[in-house]
Symmetry: D2
Subunit: 405 residues, 4 copies
């Protein structure tokens, strides 16, 4: 039987992390149903996963703000019900406790707005990068001892780094990466340092963001050597999720997609980041590639537009327009409008991934976890992009686990 599980969140003071901590506390106390939690639905609920009331949270962040402000913003924004996080109640208390276990992290390679408010970082406190990485690692390792859990997992939730796929060349090889750290090369991105630290600490690692993190070549062998399971990247929660069920339909029916235009209105930090044309162009490029994969190689015109609308807060409105051609050239269209709350969609998946990564570690799995592909926009090491096929992989895994194979 699984005992206590430590969950170390990178970006622990953010909206998603705070919602995850509050939600785990609420569910553990029966204050809310487990809606949105994939591991609470059959057949996944039959796996021997860490119980929600045995999760203990800590993490890194680069700001030292009180958790109250984040909670109030989440309540005002309609993400958390006021009553659930009432002052003096157990949920608010759980968030406060977790906040007490947050340690300064790293903002190397962060986007400009993040860097500007990152006043609480290790790179300001430690003499060199080697010491920064060591502190990241030891914070994670000590957490397990301090809170008295059996084991822990690391989930990366920090703000997206602008570099996208063009990471530091040293990331191509573990030896070079180690040398770059040793030579205090501060152009290395923090996400890779966190992943390195987690694997060195022997902790399962999940990258919920588009940042490089554990995707780099240098870390693949390390994970296998250390016997650690890991996965990523970029949690699939909104428009891409819909695309990954809708696009395969067009391919299955041999309909020709002429264009797929997406327009996203969002008011949170992610939206602000995408006002940067480079970040937007990177995002568009990725989406184009994904679409081709979902459409069996069709390469329709596709664009993604972003409007950062502060009044929307954590609520994203996405409008997609698909123009397609059917029999004898007839042109038809599909439009959809998705109005979702980003943190409420992401937070339960963070809990799912923590529990499933822990299960994999207990089962002795190492390296990438392809059965978790359905959680990610860019599932590492997995070619399937259609959600239904990816979800079937998870069901197959669950069946195999239960069958004891």
């Amino acid at each position: 039987m699984p005992g206590g599980l430590g969950v170390w969140l990178v970006g622990a003071r953010g909206a998603v992390a705070t919602t995850a901590v509050a939600g785990a506390a609420a569910l553990a106390r029966g204050l809310a149903p487990a809606t949105g939690l994939v591991t609470a639905r059959p057949p996944l609920d039959a796996l021997k996963l860490a119980p929600l009331d045995r999760l203990v949270f800590g993490g890194h962040d680069v700001v030292d703000s009180p958790p109250e402000a984040t909670l109030d913003t989440l309540v005002a924004g309609g993400v958390l019900p006021q009553a659930l996080v009432a002052p003096g109640g157990p949920v608010r208390e759980a968030v406060r406790e977790a906040a007490g276990r947050v340690r300064p992290g790293s903002a190397l390679g962060a986007a400009a707005p993040v860097a500007a408010r990152a006043t609480w970082t290790l790179e300001r406190r430690e003499p060199d990068l080697a010491r920064v990485v060591e502190r990241l690692r030891s914070d994670m390792a000590r957490f397990v001892d301090q809170v008295g859990v059996d084991r822990a997992v690391v989930v990366h939730l920090a703000s997206t780094e602008p570099a996208g796929g063009d990471v530091h060349p040293a990331c191509a090889d573990l030896a070079r990466l180690r040398r770059a750290v040793a030579s205090d090369d501060r152009s290395l991105p923090a996400s890779v340092l966190y992943a390195l630290a987690a694997l060195e600490a022997g902790l399962p690692y999940v990258n919920f963001t588009p940042s490089a993190g554990n995707a780099v070549e240098a870390l693949q062998g390390l994970a296998l050597d250390r016997g650690v399971p890991h996965m990523g990247r970029d949690g699939k929660t909104g428009e891409t999720l819909l695309k990954s069920v809708l696009a395969p339909l067009f391919a299955a029916r041999n309909l020709r997609v002429l264009s797929w235009s997406g327009f996203n209105l969002l008011g949170n930090a992610d939206g602000e980041t995408l006002t940067d044309p480079a970040a937007l162009e990177a995002k568009t490029r990725t989406k184009r590639a994904d679409l081709a994969a979902l459409l069996d190689g069709q390469a329709p015109h596709t664009t993604v537009g972003i409007d950062f609308v502060p009044s929307l807060g954590d609520w994203k409105t996405a409008w997609d327009h698909v123009h397609f051609e059917g029999f004898l050239g007839t042109r038809m269209s599909l439009q959809f409008t998705w109005q979702g709350c980003d943190s409420a969609l992401a937070a339960p998946l963070v809990l799912d991934l923590a529990r499933l990564a822990d299960l994999a570690a207990r089962r002795g799995e190492r390296g990438l976890m392809p059965h978790l592909a359905c959680f990610f926009k860019q599932p590492l090491g997995v070619d399937r992009h259609d959600f239904a096929g990816q979800f079937q992989m998870l069901l197959d895994y669950a069946a195999a686990v239960r069958a004891g194979t």
Copy 2:
């Protein structure tokens, strides 16, 4: 190698049938790409299916109108390109040839507007029902000889019968059905008579409509006895198709669907039929059941609204609104607007089903064809309602056929 294939269309003068005949002619001559034809995409295109240039069409109908009028309506409505069906061209010629092979059918049990214009029926010409059924059967059987094909399939495309699932009690048992025919019981619906005739003639039968047809218990054993494959019912072309990819997403992610409201604007004969409250209520009931199946048993509020908008012609606009609850009770929504051309969506599937039913017959399959579930709103004998799972069944079948199993 498959030779010529006869395709006998019930409702042969309608928009879907005419589009199918025109489309087959256009594709056979390379005048249009095979967009929308599932059997033209890998891996299905590798099956030994009847070539499109070897299809020969005939059928039953209950009106004796010239094909010109239908073609002109389809051109004016943007379903068929003017240039493709230019007077004197091969496509128009093919439609005219097929029209020359149409024989009077039966409108027993038809909805009032259909009955009103059904002036060209066997029940007006034959003394009793036994002779009507015999004529239906012999028309189908003689067609094979007359046009010199190796074999034929029957596809039912006639207007929806209002009875829905509440068919004549005699349909529960073959002996009783035969007695009802013998006693000239004209409350039997035509769709069942057509299916009976096809099976008696030993021809594979596909029901593309919601009418009873081959769904009745009485015919299941007959198909097995005669060694005939058959399948239905109700072609899945629009809103339900989308529902069958979107609803499983909510279930997979453990999101709670609070309501699913659909509103359909349509201007063709189907729309007119649904202005009948009884037909609409039957449709709503069916959709509710389907939704529960797609949502792993969730039973959200659901309604379907219909507005018969004559100006839209063959173009359907469907707006769906899904209200759902996520983590910690957060309420979100998805809306979609589907603007599709009914005949252009249905016609290629008619060709697919004819070719696949023929393949099954040549392979000695008999009874229901569950691997064709992805083509139907209510796939007979199949519990899976999610499109992705149904399509996988077709892919698995294709792989098995190619592997020679």
Copy 3:
């Protein structure tokens, strides 16, 4: 200078009334901006209207429920901010005070669901209808004295009566109406009795609902005789409001509207009422007439669909689809989705109408107030249906008042 103004709300325990009372209290104390209040914008804010901090509320209702429940529902439904109506705060206190001044009313002619919960009515307490009307009148009259205001207005907010336009024949003439009351004819609808009582009491009267109320012929002369201004009916807050700005555009540009289909999802009591086919048919008929008026006589196909979606609560989602024809027969479309909160849209208009009706009374106006047409779906005595023209009437009135004419 205007002093205190009493506002007597019929349906005083409902969502709209409660929101209006809470809102007036909040605005009076500077706890919220006056967004949504038409009389707070120039040039209407320059009129000598009753100040918001001098409004005193009372009213009739047919249930005797505590105001707490309504407030909690409004907070849970996202209509009122939790912080604004915190226990012990002045806004909650104001709602409680107003609730203390509510008297039992009448539910004669109410829809079945309303009648079922109407346990607190005068018809149960008084021996005959004459006494009921007298109680309604004296409650209103005494309110002015008891709360120490200079004068009062009556605003009708009770649930829609199913009769629609087909009211009791006695309503065609004042003498007949009085005889029907005297003969205890309980088939008279309550809305007419309330209007009669208000006019008899000499109080300005506004009908914010589709019920008959002051629209009947019998009351027109009475209002003139008593020198009382009055207006109605049916507050224009959502889909119809949009229609009254969009439809004139098509007419102005000589575009031919082929169809206008509306579909409304709503979860509150209004939605429940419209699940009654008769109520829905009445609504559809009205909407069709309005559309023709807005389109300079065009009579396109039009339908209104309703889906009562309990999970939406006070939030209405309306989807409209307009199919139209332009130059040389080109067919185009406009769709809109309106997501509005009914009570938040209606409540400020209730305050506006109370203040403007009071101004009219102080100015000695009597009979209908056509300058208030822009607030109503069916403005009594006004032919203009376009919102812009109606709003100009209000601006012209304001200019005339300020010019002292």
Copy 4:
């Protein structure tokens, strides 16, 4: 009684011009109803306007392509019905005749893609700018004589010039403008040269595009001196048209618009132009200013996104999302999707403007024509931006004309 009217179109080979010419021919022969033509609806149809069967077309363009190609594109794109422009028919003949009267124009200051295909220009043929302007003028003047009409008007329909409002400094003053022409300053934009030429020729001038044209200060006095009426700019046909009816509603109801996000999908040349970031930024700036004017000074967040989707051709799909705040801070939204055919929306307005400008000239009006504001996105010399108010100005003008004032 008005006799023949020459209509000189700048950009005469484009889609809008060709649709206008074809439409006028079709209407003159009774082959299509006058839908979309504002001057065909009451009360404007009662004005003594040039009859449609007396319009004669000519114009300038910078390419020398045959009209067949444009017609075929318009038919394929669903703008013109095939049957209307059948070979040998009168409509195609009318288009061909008009094409025979097109003369080489100027592409000075054109956007890069336009400049690239502008092979048929006066600047290639004439030695200097003075001669270019003189040729533009004399082409217009001679047209009147050659086709035997009483008089003519000039309508500018050429591709948008990128400069936007930042035109050549010489445009601030007529004397400077003349000197710049005399000194062969080829940085002057063609739109200004066309306007100069028209006014010099004494012809009424209408600018249907966003280019500078007659908006520049230098030409205001000239028009008055020559006694010529003129107006512009930028025909209001789609999203802005809707905005100009919807935004005033929010202002009238004192609702606070938090954001107005627009996203346009378009596949024609206009869309291609807007893929240029500078052009897009200029467009966004203009739209922001317009919105503030429509909202009584509110300055919400607003952005306009563009996706150039070639498959859409002349069909524009615009999605707008309005986030707004109502009573007590309640946040609501309005979305609309507009699917319109640009040329079909613009072409009848070109005919309207030609006829109304001609009427003004015959009545001796000179300078700007504010009564035409409702046709333009940026009506020169008019502060009103709400469509309803602008349209009332046109109705008032019509009433005054008919009253003989």
